[in-house]
Every structure is written in structure tokens, then in C-alpha cells.
Point group: C2
Chain length 196, copies 2
DNA sequence: CCTCTATGTGGACGTTGTCAACATAGAATC
DNA sequence: GATTCTATGTTGACAACGTCCACATAGAGG
């Protein structure tokens, strides 16, 4: 579907797509307006008809990254096939955490973009999946009511820190085996912290 | 102490100092060679006699940031005045975590630089303080031996995630009161996770 | 006094974000 | 169908950046 007209048709989407690809490949600093335009086959200034500035384009990529994260979490939660309600709730919470880390490791560029200021996207989606999992743990009686408050932040901080350190951080060269074992332990500790 | 000679005398240190100040004020992207030179009162190219490129200068700032973090941790640990060995060990571990987060919040720019690739500094210092605190918890019998392995990462991930989210991340506008309460809860959960 | 080397300067190039002026396609109006 | 309007793309410019090269100079050692 090559366009031939002067007007592109849906340049905005094409630009976002190219920007996402750049973010995926090179992280936040790799999202460069002129390169985005080049890849879209359009002049270096065309993007300014659709985005006020670079930050606005970056913001779009941020949102795509967060949406991907949210989708990954949901997919993993839905795949849980455990009958026992308590075990199912625990397992779902664990899958939420795993999905978070897996996404950060599978898409380090987009993950970095998603959490690189100055304007953050809407993290309602990912946050809601975490909240839902915790609510379920509470409902089935696994999570004591006294521990419900602030539980989101405890979990989020843990998996976010793990993700940051391993995706683009100082632990990025830790071999996969050990990383998996470490993540398993971290999730075990979070589970214990909420249960105890 | 104005220099008058053509040669500066200790330009390298002066450049690092200016770069640190820029990093403190504006974060990693704010460390700009030409601005560093300007603030040091030398030509835009002078830095290349002391650093191969921008990354090498950035790396110096990274190390300064990590040294500051290490010093902050040590200072807080040394101030603990608890007699009971078990309580002292617990308290020291908690202070290590608090120091980490406090530093990240007090110096968001330097903290961001310290954990911004591509080359990371030597985090032996900070890591050692955490290891020491955990070893002490083990020695006094508070931390069960089975939980000792990987305990560093559990703690580090938690405080690092909390720091990232609150210093320059999406939770940076959370009011101080709530942030403090949230940190308290996080440290409580970590304590429980290691004890249980 | 002379030369050598380390260190700082000046100017250049290519890249970036962004602005202003211009051009054109497609829709709206007559 | 011809004309005007507006949304959308293009061209050219500017300043700031990292970096390279040629040059200048200070201070040390002969």
C-alpha cells in the first residue's frame, strides 16, 4: 500500500509506529524526530503538524509501552488455571509480577521509555491489574486486611526495582538462569511479606 | 582564587565538579560538555584533553553519585544507638534502606545519573553496606539462614524501585507525608519477608 | 636560550530540535 | 466546474550539541 499523494493519509499513526520501533531498538534517546521522519519517508518537519514537539511524540510511545505492559499482565493472569480459590489468587498475583518483569526484559527500550519523564503515560491499566490481584487475595482470605493498605506499592516497588536493575540497569548482564532464580525468590518473599 | 595562567592547573577536577553540579541540577541529559566548559571558564574543547568523550565524563559523575550514596548509607548505619544486638541489626538494615531512598529523593539528578547507562560505576560500596547489614542480621539469629541467599536483591529491588518511582518516576508528586508512610510500610514488609 | 610536550583555543562538520515561510491536496463554496 | 479555504507537507534557516583537526602557548628539561 504505497501512497502516492502529497498528503500521506494517516501520517500520525505512521509516525508513532516508527517512533515506537525506534524506542524499542534504542530507548528514549533513540527517539529522534528526524529519524522518525526519515523512516516514514517524509520531510524532517512533517511531524510538527501532528505533535507539538518531541516530548509529545515521546508521550505517545510511552502510552504504547504501558498498554503493552497492561496487555501482557492481563494475558498472563487469564492463563492461570488453578481451581482452589486461594491458590488461584496467589498465583494470579505472582503472574502479574512475572509479566511486569518479563515485559521489562523483553522490551527494555519501550520499558525505559514508559518510565522516562518528563510526562508519564496513563498507568491505570497495569495498576488496575495489580489492584485486582491484591483484591482477590484479600477476598479469598489469603491477604490479611491489615496488610491490604499500601500492598500495591510494596509489590510495585519490588518488581519495578528488579526490572530496572536487570533490563537496562547494572544487573543487565546477569545470566538468565540466575536472574530467573532471583526473580523466583523475590516473588516468594513478596508472597511471604503479604501473608505473614 | 582566580587563575590567570593559560594552563588551568587542575582542570580535570574542576570539570568533574562542574559536571556533578550539572548532573545534580538537571540529571544525565543536563551534563553537556560545552556547558561544563562554560561554567569552568574554558573553551568548549578543553575537556577533551582529560576525557575521551562525554561518556567518560558522565562516568565520573556516576562514581561521585555512588560514593555519595555509599557515604549516606554508612553515616546512617553508624548513627544507630540500639543496645540489643537483634534490634540493632534490624535497625541497621532499615537505616540502609532509608538512606538509599533518602539519597535518591535528596539528589534525584545524581541518583538518575548513577543508574543511567551505558557504563555503570562501581557499586561495591553501597552493595557492601547492604551485605554487611544482612550478615549482621544473620549473625544475631534474626535472619534465618535459608533466607540469606538472594536477600540483597530482595532488599535492593524494593528500595530501588521505590526510589525510582518517587524520585524521577511517576510517583514523584506523591506528597511527602504519604511517601514517608509508604516507605515505612515497605520496610516493614521487607523486614517481615526476611524474618518469616 | 631553545626545544619538547602537555594542555588549552579556534574553527569546522554533521546532527539535532524547532521556527518561519512557502506549497499543495482535498474539501467546501459558489 | 471554477474558486477559495484549510489542513498538511516541504524547504530553508538557526542555535546548540558532540567531536575532530590544526594551531597556540606554558612550563619543564636540555
Amino acid at each position: 500500500m504505497r501512497h502516492v499523494s502529497y498528503h500521506h493519509g494517516n501520517l500520525r499513526e505512521a509516525l508513532v509506529e516508527a517512533a515506537v520501533e525506534l524506542g524499542r531498538e534504542r530507548g528514549p534517546d533513540g527517539i529522534v524526530i528526524r529519524e522518525v521522519a526519515r523512516r516514514t519517508g517524509v520531510s524532517h518537519n512533517a511531524a510538527y503538524r501532528h505533535f507539538a514537539d518531541r516530548d509529545e511524540l515521546l508521550h505517545e510511545v510511552t502510552q504504547v509501552g504501558l498498554d503493552g505492559l497492561s496487555a501482557a499482565m492481563l494475558a498472563r493472569v487469564k492463563r492461570v488455571r488453578v481451581k482452589d480459590p486461594v491458590e488461584r489468587a496467589r498465583r494470579r498475583l505472582r503472574e502479574v509480577g512475572k509479566a511486569y518483569v518479563d515485559y521489562a526484559l523483553a522490551e527494555p527500550g519501550l520499558f525505559a521509555v514508559a518510565f522516562s519523564g518528563p510526562s508519564f503515560g496513563d498507568l491505570t491499566g497495569p495498576y488496575q491489574h495489580l489492584t485486582d490481584a491484591l483484591d482477590e487475595c484479600l477476598a479469598v482470605g489469603y491477604l490479611p486486611p491489615a496488610k491490604r493498605e499500601g500492598a500495591e506499592l510494596t509489590c510495585w516497588a519490588g518488581v519495578h526495582g528488579f526490572s530496572m536493575l536487570h533490563s537496562t540497569g547494572p544487573l543487565r548482564d546477569v545470566p538468565r538462569r540466575q536472574r530467573d532464580a532471583d526473580l523466583g525468590r523475590l516473588l516468594d518473599r513478596l508472597d511471604e511479606a503479604l501473608r505473614a
